[in-house]
Amino acid sequence: MTPGSALDGLDPALTAPKRLAAMALLSRASGADFGVLREHLGVSESDLSKQMSALMAAGYVTARKSGHGRGSATTYQATRDGKKAYSRHRAALEAILEGGVSPS
């Protein structure tokens, strides 16, 4: 990947580090509950909701709710497109690092 094409691989939906970390976890798991993601990313509930909404809007994540009331849980899963986008974005970051190109 050339530095120029590396920049093309960057995905605007994944430039936020928290969203990238969420996609990284979900790309290597069958899914993850809201609480697991919140704990791993070290973010507030409202922040995580915002980040996951952005990923869902991009079509990279789906959400499934189970249970009712206090026992309810929301489980997120990465879509095939989401996993591909994550791999592309990650490869682009690595290429930029190797090529010494600044994306900003």
Partner: protein, 150 residues
Amino acid sequence: MESDEIRDTLRAADRAEAAPWTDYPPTPRWYPAAVGVWAALITLALTSLGSEIRLPAVLALIAVEVGFIRWYVRYRKGVMPTGPAPREFRHAILAFVGGAAAIVLGAVVLATQVDAWVAAAFVLIVVPGAIAWYERAYADAARRARERLS
């Protein structure tokens, strides 16, 4: 985005990719013994039961296993690792697969050459020890992976 920032972002991504393998709740203490009993029962069901009750017995044991897996996924809060494991886990996983194959082979030899009850007793004794070893090897691999990625 500066190079240091990209490095930090990739490092955080590495930690997140490894998290389904390295961050998990403690395995219940009853798990090795329960797997041993289940394995011994399915050994008996497959080797000593009459054909008319063999299938229902095996299906019932499979249903128990499915129920356990469903509970375990909830226990792990929906996080079951997929894809390649971090390199620290490879030895434990290969040993697990090899050990499982050796135990199955041993059980088949005992059941066909000696007695089904001897095969079940072998499984009942060996499986909990093997599972307990794997749990320790897995925990050690998780610790080393967490240290490398910290």
